[in-house]
Symmetry: C2
Subunit: 437 residues, 2 copies
Amino acid sequence: MGQGLMSAMSKYDVLVVGAGVLGLSTAYHIKRENPERSILVLDKLGGPGQGNSAKSVGAFRNVFSSRTNFLLADSTIDFFTHVQEDLGHDLGLVFHGYLWLLSGRQYRRQEENFKEMSRRGVELRTWEREDLRRMIPDLVTEFEEGDEEAEVMGLEPVERGLQGVKCGSIDADRLVRFYEEEFRRLGGEVRYNVEVKRLILKPERELGLPGEPFVWQDASVKGVETVRGEEIYADRVVVAVGAWANTLLNPIGLDAFMRPKKRQVFVFKDERLERLFHSEGFNKEGVVPLLILPKAGILIKPEVSEGALWIECADNLGRPFKLEDDPQPELTYYTGNLYHVVVKYLPCFRDVQPVNMWAGQYALNSIDKTPYVFEEAGMIYVGAGSGSGLMKCDALGRIAAALYAGEKEATLYGGRAFRVSDLSVKERRVERETFVL
Amino acid sequence: MGQGLMSAMSKYDVLVVGAGVLGLSTAYHIKRENPERSILVLDKLGGPGQGNSAKSVGAFRNVFSSRTNFLLADSTIDFFTHVQEDLGHDLGLVFHGYLWLLSGRQYRRQEENFKEMSRRGVELRTWEREDLRRMIPDLVTEFEEGDEEAEVMGLEPVERGLQGVKCGSIDADRLVRFYEEEFRRLGGEVRYNVEVKRLILKPERELGLPGEPFVWQDASVKGVETVRGEEIYADRVVVAVGAWANTLLNPIGLDAFMRPKKRQVFVFKDERLERLFHSEGFNKEGVVPLLILPKAGILIKPEVSEGALWIECADNLGRPFKLEDDPQPELTYYTGNLYHVVVKYLPCFRDVQPVNMWAGQYALNSIDKTPYVFEEAGMIYVGAGSGSGLMKCDALGRIAAALYAGEKEATLYGGRAFRVSDLSVKERRVERETFVL
C-alpha cells in the first residue's frame, strides 16, 4: 500500500529540478498557465534560492547592447514593479540606478551602443566630469601628473558617467519566496533537501531489455533519480540548476553551454563611507547609484536596507572556470587585488575592512552572454544566466512555459512578444552582448 | 653553464602545444611563412598524432551544408591531393566516396541542402533504389511486411543513395608524419613525452610582486609549465590539444567551446564481407564507398590498405560527454547495440566478430559543429574539430598562421580567401552545420 502510494505520487506532469530563481519562475508560469497539471520542484538545498540566487548582489539593469537581453530584463523589471506596486508584495525594490564611470576612450567606444539603446527606449543620463565631482565628492576623476600608481595600474581618468535609470536592486530572497509562495498557492509542490543524482533517459517504446536505450531507439528524459535512490517520473523534466547544469546534462550527452565562474561580494559599513553612500542627485532615495569602476569590472552597490556598500567582482582572466559546491570568498582577493583599484578612485575606502563577504557562481555563456532556453530529448533546459539570470528571471520563466506549451511565441510581462526559439541552440537568434560589466 | 643554456633554449618565438594533426599543420604553416622564427612543438605522447588523430577513421568529405565547413574541407582535400600527386608523399589517399543511404523522408528533408551543395560545386551523384540493389547486392533496401524487428527499431527503407565523390580515406599517421617531417626540415623542433601541466599567464608589465597578475593588469599567456616543472616561454603559445583543451584553458578562465565525445571503431575482415567490400561501380578502386546507414549515424568504411571494413559510431544521446585519457572500445557497444542495425541493412555482417577495435574522442562543438580558431590573452587556440578536424586540418593550420601573422584573411590551398575572424568567438560568422553524420 505504502509502495503503491509512493509509485502513484512519484509521477508528475512536470518536474522542475532547481528551486533557484529560474526554476521557481518557470514552475510558477507553467502552473499559472496549466493549473490542473501536477508540478513538483526539487532542490538539493534547504529552501528557495539557496544556491547562487541568494548569493547574487540582487542588482538589475535594462542597459544591454543586445536587443534580446534588453527585452528579457526590461520586461522582468516591469514585472518586479507590478508585483511590488500592484500586488503589494514587498520585493525590496530600489531604483538607485547604475552609473558607469567611463574614461573618454571607453565612452567613445560605446557611444554607438548608447545611442542605439536610447532609441530602443532605455532611459540613459550622461553626467560630465564636473557633475560627478559635485555629486560624488568622494570620487577621484583625475589622477595627478606623476601618479605612478595610477600609471602602473593603467587607471584612466573618469571623463563621463552614464546612468541607467531603470536599474536598481531587489531582495533576491523575497523574489524567490514570492515565486515559491504563488506557485504553492496554485497547488504546486516543492521538496527541499532532495538532491538529484541523474536524469533518467528511457526509450519512447521500452522493450524491457538490458542496455536500453539502444542507439536505434528514440529516447527522452523521463524523470530523475535522487541521491537517496528514489526515482521520480514526469511527462516533462525542466532543468534549471544554474552553475550545476553540466553535472546533470553531460552524463547523458547534452551540453549546458556555460561554465561556472566565481563571483565574490564584500560588504562595507563604515562611517568613512557615509558621504559616498548618501551621494545626492541621482535618484529619489538620495543614495549613490551602483557604480561600475573604469577598471576590472568592479561594482559598488548601495544596499539600502542595511545602509551598506557591497563590492562585487567576478573572476576573470587568470582565474579558473571550475564548479564548486560551496565557493568561498577570499579576503585577500579584496585586500590584495581589488582594493588597490577601489581606493584610487574612492579613497574613502582606504583601510576600511569588509564586515561580511561571500562567494557564488555565475553560469557563464562566454559566446553570446545570453541565456539558453531549449528542449532536447524531452527535457527543457533554462540556464546560462551569464550573470544576469536574476534580472531576466520572469521573462525566462514565461519563455520556458511557452516552450512547454508548444507555443512559438511567449508573451513577456507587459505584452511584448518573444520568439521562443531565439534562445534555443538550433534556431538561436541573439546578438552577442557587448555591454558587459 | 648548463642552467644558462637551459634558459636560453627555453624561449621560443612560437610554442605549439599538441602534435596532433591540427598542432602540426599549424606549426608547419607558421614555420613555412616565418622560416627565421624558432618554433617548438610539444606533445605528452611519444610521437606525432598519437592522441585522437591516430584513432580517427581517416575519412574525409567535402559534403557539408555549411559554406564554411565546405571551404575548410574542400581546400584541405585539394592539399592532400597536391601532397600525394605533386610532392610525391604517399598519404594513402583513396577517393572511394561517401554514400548516404537515405529513406525517402531523409532525402526530402535534405533535398534543398543537396541542391545548394551542388550549386557550390560539390560533386554529388544520386542513386535510385534499383541502382543500389544492383551495385550492392548485400544491401537490404526494404524490409518485408511484418518485419517486427525493423518496425520496433524504427528502420526505414532505403529509397536513395547520395554519393559524395570528392570523399575518401587518408592514412592519418602518414599525414601527421608529413607535416612533422616538413616542419622539421624547415628547422622546426618537436619534443615528445613532454606533458604540459599549465599555461603560464603573466602581466604585460611584470612588477615582481606576489599575486600577479592582479585584476588591473593586462595579462597574457607567456609560456607553459610541464609536469616535470620545466618552464618554457614563447612570444606566442598555440594550444591545439583537441579533446584535452579545457584542461589547459579552463584553469586560466578561458573556454575551449567543445566537449569530449567518445567514438569507437570496430574492424572487420572476413570472407563473408568480401562481396560487400568489392561493390563495383562507385569508384575506380571498385570498392564500396563509405556507407552511412539511415539510422544512428553508423559509418562503414572500406579500409583499402587492409581489405577491411571499419564500422564507426560516435557517442550520442544517453552516453556522456567526458574527458578520458585513454578511452576504451566496448565490444558490447557493437555486439549488443550497433550490430542489430547493421545486420538488418547488411545481413552479411551476421555473426561476424570484429578483429580489432579502438576508441578515441571527438572535440565536439555542439552549437555550430564548426571549429574554432581565435586569439585570446596572447594565446592562439585551434580546436573544436567536431569530428572533422582531420579533413580540415590544412585550412585550419593556414588560418591559424594568418592569425599569428596578424592578417585578416588567410589564403587556403588553391587560392581561396578565408576571413580569419569567421572562426573566432567575438566576430564568429559561420553557418550551423545541418548535414551531420
